[in-house]
Amino acid sequence: MPDAVAAARVAARALVESVLAPQADRPADAGVLAAIAAERRRLGLWGVTVPAEAGGRGWSWPQQAALQEECHRVPAGVWTGQALAAGEPPAPLYGAAAGVRERYLRPCLDGRRTAVQVWGADHGGIQGVWVRPARGGVVLRGHLEGVPAYAAADLVLLVLPRPEGGGLDAYLCDRDLAGFDAGPAGETMGRMRLVDLTYQDCFVPEGRVLRDCDLPARRWRANRQAAVLAAGALGAALASLEQGIAYARRRVTFGRPIGDRQAIQWMVADGAREVYGAQVLVARAAEGGGSSAEALDEAVRAKVYATEAACRILDRVIQIHGAYGYSRDLPFEGLWRELAAYRFLEGRNDELLAALAPATVSGLQL
């Protein structure tokens, strides 16, 4: 393991010990999130995704993946995946004009605001936001359903393809933007809340449009897919499977540990194969760093593989623990509920898979 990645793991473990593990049972309220943010700054885990030129720490993807994997080994790491979005503004902001950086990037790095990138382009395929050119800017109109409302996010970078064709633009949507409404947060199966974004003839002045941000927007999405969702799901699955194995050795029925039974052994072995696969894919995607079209695809593959596998593994770990696994005395049912969202965050797995199928199949011929 390169030194920098090893150091990332050490720092992540310190965060887990000092603040994530002790918060396990608390709701993700503002106090908890503030405590996590303060500790991340103290440990140098703030702004890690942001390049040094833009005022961050410029961690490599393997370092970032190691951070998330370690943090997700405790339940609080999973539901604070959203807390880890604070201090990590989306990539399209890095290269923006000085005024935009001053107004949007800096407050994010200072921790005064939190920004999220929302992919409007392929959201469900049946809905969306339409862009119409107007004098001095554009007008947005449309509706996006079920957008993850990251805790306290107050800036949305809405990414859309340019109507006349060509690349992607991003629109900086503040709460104060007239005609833009992030409806009330809806409850879900997990701790995450979802909002519906509505644009009612919403005028966005040119100064808030980031033109031609294909590369940074795509790379940022791939970064979330590989270094947060895939790596995080892997960490949660791995740590849970370890606990499942320990329980299978301990729990005795009919005079023998349940781990002596093939019904349990198969769950363990299936889980191990999937953890292995996820480890290899996450490592490949992280090393690729989203630096080419193929590397972007590899991030998607890691995301789909690891998040699907993690849900199956958690389900088996619940089953191994019997009624205790189903109860909230143990963390596994809650982890399942959180990880189920990873399957649609940053792209729905079924849509991602379908879009990727031709490239994946032709890759197999090489």
Partner: protein
């Protein structure tokens, strides 16, 4: 998906569907996310309306004042009930007394069975212990005769569903073997409020079922409250559990899955091939369910069938609900649709009342040891 139900059962099932649509579904938003309860007055009103509609105690044998629809009838009613997320509401199921009570003598029948059928009393089932789940014979709760016509119960029970609302518990305990006295696992009816019967806590779960932990500390239970012979609790259980295994979880699971697939289909989010595959799985599970229930009504041994049906129906249903949730993406994950609730509630089925692995084990053992034969499983009706 059509199975041929006897005309009378069909009629009652249709009425139950209407009751579900008109009376229960509108209350779904009131169901708390992690509990199966509604305000007491709502429950009382629902029970009243269920009785008015003639839907109460329909499957209870006529000799106990029920409608005598039998196991097929019970499955049909519960399948309709599965169409609402209120399907696991404890007191609505009060219409179905714990089946072991059907074996009660005159006295216990009058004190427990009949009031339960009338909806006046409500019982919970306390078998599982910290060290005795799948391995139920490994019980340690002791029931020691104290020489005054009573037993002293000492021990701990976990995961007793609805014990927080119940008036009495069916408690399994071990009577020690004494000189000239048979021992073994024995069943007692213990009233809530009996000194030494402590309700400890609700165990929160993934879904709405919040089973309780119970402690018995020198809890004195009269011999008259012993159900069945000393040491014979599992003989009783043998007789009844198979029917329970067929009629309690599978129909609820199938009803819930059917509604989930219908929602996905109507919204146009279901890939055709996947939808077809899952629907066929449910169709087969349902055919198996009613086949087994009909056998139970004829008094045939359904122990092998019960494990096949439970494992097939609950896993097919859970997969269907989980897929439907995923097809809907973020909407399926949100509380705006019933899918996430169904998933969380149905996830208990492959664990509670005999795990999936134990059903598989029972099926395989039966075949490998020759108690059951493949050619005898589905003899023509």
């Amino acid at each position: 998906m059509d199975v041929e139900l006897p005309a009378q059962v069909r009629r009652w099932k249709d009425r139950m569907h209407r009751f579900v649509a008109e009376e229960l579904m509108p209350l779904e938003p009131d169901l708390p996310p992690f509990a199966n309860r509604l305000p007491a007055e709502d429950i009382a009103a629902l029970v009243r309306r269920m009785k008015d509609a003639g839907l109460w105690a329909l499957a209870v044998p006529r000799e106990f004042g029920g409608g005598g629809l039998g196991w097929v009838g019970l499955c049909a009613l519960r399948e309709a009930l599965g169409h609402t997320t209120l399907c696991s509401l404890g007191k609505l199921l009060g219409a179905e007394p714990p089946v072991l009570l059907y074996d009660a003598g005159e006295d216990l029948r009058a004190r427990y069975l009949l009031p339960t059928i009338a909806g006046e009393r409500y019982g919970c089932f306390a078998l599982t212990e910290p060290e005795a789940g799948s391995d139920a014979a490994n019980l340690s709760l002791s029931a020691v005769p104290d020489g005054t016509g009573h037993y002293l119960l000492n021990g701990r029970k976990v995961f007793s569903s609805h014990a927080d609302e119940a008036d009495y518990a069916l408690v399994f305990g071990v009577v020690p073997q004494g000189p000239g006295q048979a021992g073994g696992i024995t069943l007692f009816l213990v009233d809530r409020g009996t000194p030494g019967f402590h309700w400890v806590r609700r165990i929160e779960t993934m879904g709405g079922d919040r089973p309780s932990e119970l402690v018995f500390e020198n809890c004195r239970v009269p011999d008259a409250n012993r159900l069945g012979a000393t040491g014979k609790a599992f003989d009783l259980a043998q007789r009844w559990f198979a029917c329970d295994r067929i009629a309690l979880q599978p129909p609820i699971a199938l009803g819930a899955a059917a509604r989930s697939l219908a929602l996905a289909q109507a919204a146009g989010v279901a890939p055709a091939l996947e939808l077809g595959r899952l629907a066929l799985g449910l169709h087969a599970a349902r055919a198996m369910l009613y086949h087994a229930a009909a056998k139970a009504d004829r008094g045939e041994d359904v122990r092998h069938d019960a494990s096949l049906v439970k494992a097939t129906a609950t896993s097919a249903a859970l997969e269907a609900v989980e897929r439907a949730m995923a097809w809907f993406g973020p909407r399926g994950y949100s509380r705006a649709l019933p899918l996430e609730r169904y998933y969380r509630d149905l996830r208990r089925f492959p664990i509670a009342a005999g795990t999936y692995e134990i059903q598989q084990f029972v099926v395989a053992r039966g075949l490998l040891r020759g108690y059951a034969g493949l050619d005898r499983m589905a003899a023509p009706l």
